[in-house]
């Protein structure tokens, strides 16, 4: 590596440093703090200095790394290739292993309340990811307002349960149907829009739903939210420590000591079953004509039209089915929390679910699981770091897109093969 090249890289680092100074100087270096009703500026030059140096040094190292990579042209990101090859080959086995693991998870020694809560949260996101996978991954429709259907499911479940007292098993399908109807309503006017526009419109829809929930006090109690959502029961047996007169509870029926974990474990299996239903449904429907049409529409809509495929109805079906699963997930969320408010249904939720689907590899079911574990894991592990963890989250989105735009598991297998029938 010649002296000229080193000089070039040094100049590059200097430039990077200057840009970093411009970027981080004002915002990081001059923190505004409230003092006696007014704002004053608190300089933080040392932090800025560290960041600038880190950027300059980082740039230098990246340049060297790329230079070295150029020299060793033959090996192209061998690590990445090995990982994706492994995942492709062992895909089915990994999936089965994951399912077995998730079934026995609650009985593992470390599965205490904290871990069970995390597992339930992850499973909920996985289900939402699988649901949105139908819309974005299979049909290629960029929906940035998926949280709206989640909210419709949660609120309709809560309202039916609170006002009519129907059981979970009745309210769940109703909430799903509601959400699906909502999906058709929303989708009908806008699904013919082109990618970017559809994205912004669905984002707007998501926000409109949230604003409505926030302000329609008579129906949704606005920011106060809905409380007193009935807790789930084990097919009629409530999970109560102190049962009402003459009512059997779960623990008395099975002759066990009462433990608050019983309800949690039930909830876990509930979301696990719901998620698996979503998954198997998706795998099945990909093999059917409508699923194939989704993927074909994603590839080339004009070619589809020339073959007589009705794009609007096909897209609406994807949208409605995706909405339905979000509705089911919303019902689960409502009964698990026993309390819902518009705060849980913000745009960032939609963004997280979109990130899960795209980073996992569009259309890949296993990919959704992997990216959920990674992204939600990231958010959880860094929970104490508040805003910084979201910076890391956004950064992860950018980095994965830049280095692996097709997602973790990008390879697609055909849903029907001649080999089997030939």
């Amino acid at each position: 590596m010649g002296k000229d090249l080193i000089q070039k890289y040094l100049k590059d680092s200097l430039f990077t440093g200057i840009v970093a100074l411009a970027l981080f100087g004002p915002i990081v270096g001059l923190r505004t703090v409230a003092k006696n009703e007014a704002l004053v500026v608190q300089p933080k030059w040392f932090v800025v200095f560290l960041i600038v140096v880190a950027c300059a040094a980082g740039r230098f190292l990246i340049n060297i790394y790329q230079f070295r990579k150029e020299q060793r042209r033959g090996e192209q990101s061998s690590f990445g290739k090995a990982v994706s090859h492994f995942l492709d080959e062992k895909g089915a086995q990994i999936a089965i292993g994951a399912i077995v693991f998730s079934v026995i998870f609650p009985f593992m020694p470390f599965a205490d309340r904290y871990w069970m809560d995390i597992a339930i949260m992850m499973m909920t996101y996985i289900m939402l990811g699988w649901g949105l996978n139908i819309v974005i991954g299979l049909a290629g429709l960029l929906d940035l307002g998926y949280v709206a259907f989640y909210a419709v499911g949660a609120y309709s479940y809560a309202l039916f349960a609170i006002h009519f007292g129907w059981s979970f098993w009745i309210c769940l399908p109703i909430a799903g149907v509601f959400a699906a109807m909502f999906g058709v309503l929303l989708g009908f006017p806008v699904l013919r829009l082109r990618g970017d526009y559809l994205a912004i419109v669905t984002l707007a829809f998501g926000e409109m739903v949230r604003i409505l929930l926030l302000n329609w006090y008579e129906l949704t109690k606005g920011p106060d939210g809905l409380t007193g959502i009935p807790r789930p029961s084990f097919f009629g047996l409530p999970f109560k420590r102190y049962p009402d007169e003459g009512v059997e509870t779960f623990h008395t029926f099975f002759g066990l000591e009462y433990s608050s974990m019983q309800r949690i474990i039930f909830l876990y299996y509930l979301i696990l079953v719901l998620a698996l239903i979503t998954n198997f449904f998706t795998i099945k429907i990909r093999r059917l004509p409508v699923g194939r049409a989704w993927e074909a529409l994603r590839e080339d809509e004009i070619a589809c039209k020339s073959l007589g495929v009705n794009p609007r109805n096909t897209k609406l079906t994807a949208f409605a089915i995706g909405a339905m699963f979000a509705g089911f997930a919303g019902s689960f969320f409502a009964t698990r929390q026993a309390f819902i408010s518009p705060e849980s249904f913000t745009f960032i939720e939609s963004a997280i679910i979109v990130a899960i689907v795209v980073l996992g590899g569009m259309g890949s079911q296993t990919g959704v699981v992997l990216s959920t574990v990674f992204l939600i894991g990231l958010i959880e592990v860094f929970r104490d770091f508040e805003s910084y963890r979201m910076v890391a989250f956004g950064g992860a989105m950018v980095l994965i897109m830049v280095f692996r735009p097709r997602g973790i598991l990008a390879k697609r297998k055909p849903t029907i093969t001649m080999g089997k029938h030939g």
Partner: protein
């Protein structure tokens, strides 16, 4: 009547701010065909930079007009750096990738910017003491006094000046020509010897500078900002860009004024809580009936 006039004045002022942001959206869409989701947050960064600059200058005894010019320039320069960096890091590597990739990347950048500012500056809202006070009062003897503040005049004048400079830039200079060429056919433009990367960077720089000005106006006008203003303003400004026809710069400003008026009149006459829904509904309605906006160029895919 007086109330109507006041809403009109307020609406046009707000609309100017939205219009400045909308131009950034429309320019980027015109040249690389993507919606820059992070643009609204660039506007937010501009507001913060302006806020910090105002606070610092308040400690000096520099006269107001000079402070205004300095803050304007400072906001533009530093925010332009953000726009430039975002493009280089998150969009340029994905220029040849499939449609969704830069969109997701932009989404990620938006999340990064919002939380980065929140982490660096704290989550609380920030306030700014009024910088320009006073104005003209009309209809002093009626029930409702109409005020046209000096600040409002300032905002509208700055907007008009920038629009003029900017339109001259686009139509008369080589940069403008290069931009229009890139919009039409990037490969061919490159083959003609034009530095496409630099043209695209300049587009982001100009768009971000205008957003910075909008940010400065915003913080002066409302006196309150937080890290979240970019999200809402972004959607509304994008609506404005679409209304005016994505790809059309005068359309973007027109759309901005329209959205500002819609929002202000809705708040003034119907309800304040649902004013954001007014903007969103406009977006949906416009896209349903005018997929390419009022003044936009139709997007015919060659079959």
């Amino acid at each position: 009547m007086e109330y109507f006039l006041q809403q009109l004045i307020n609406g046009l002022t707000l609309g100017s701010v939205y219009g400045l942001i909308a131009i950034g959206y429309t320019m980027v869409y015109g040249i690389i065909g993507m919606i820059n989701f992070a643009h609204g947050d660039i506007f937010m960064v501009g507001a913060f930079v302006a806020l910090i600059a105002f606070i610092l200058f308040a400690l000096t005894s520099i006269s107001l007009p000079i402070v205004l010019i300095l803050v304007l320039l400072i906001a533009m320069v530093f925010t332009a750096c953000y726009g430039w960096t975002v493009e280089k890091l998150a969009y340029k590597p994905l220029r040849k990738s499939f449609r969704l990739a830069p969109l997701i990347s932009a989404l990620g950048m938006s999340i990064v910017l919002q939380n980065y500012v929140q982490a660096a500056q704290g989550a609380r809202i920030k306030t700014l003491q009024p910088v320009i006070q006073g104005g003209f009062n009309f209809f002093k003897d009626s029930n409702f006094v109409v005020t046209l503040s000096y600040l409002q005049i300032f905002i509208i004048l700055v907007t008009i000046t920038l629009m003029t400079i900017f339109t001259l830039l686009i139509t008369r200079t080589a940069l403008g020509r290069a931009q229009r060429a890139c919009e039409q056919d990037r490969t061919m433009t490159a083959l003609m010897g034009i530095n496409v990367d630099r043209t695209i960077s300049m587009t982001f720089i100009i768009g971000s500078s205008l957003a910075a000005v909008a940010g400065m106006m915003f913080v002066m006008y409302y006196g309150v900002i937080d890290f979240y203003i970019g999200f809402l303003a972004g959607i509304k400004a994008f609506t404005a860009a679409v209304l005016g026809g994505i790809g059309s710069i005068p359309g973007a400003m027109l759309g901005g004024l329209l959205i500002g008026l819609i929002e202000t009149f809705w708040s003034g006459y119907i309800s304040i809580e649902y004013k954001d829904i007014a903007a969103f509904t406009t977006l949906v309605v416009v896209l349903i009936f005018f997929p390419t906006g009022f003044l936009g160029k139709p997007d015919i895919e060659k079959v």
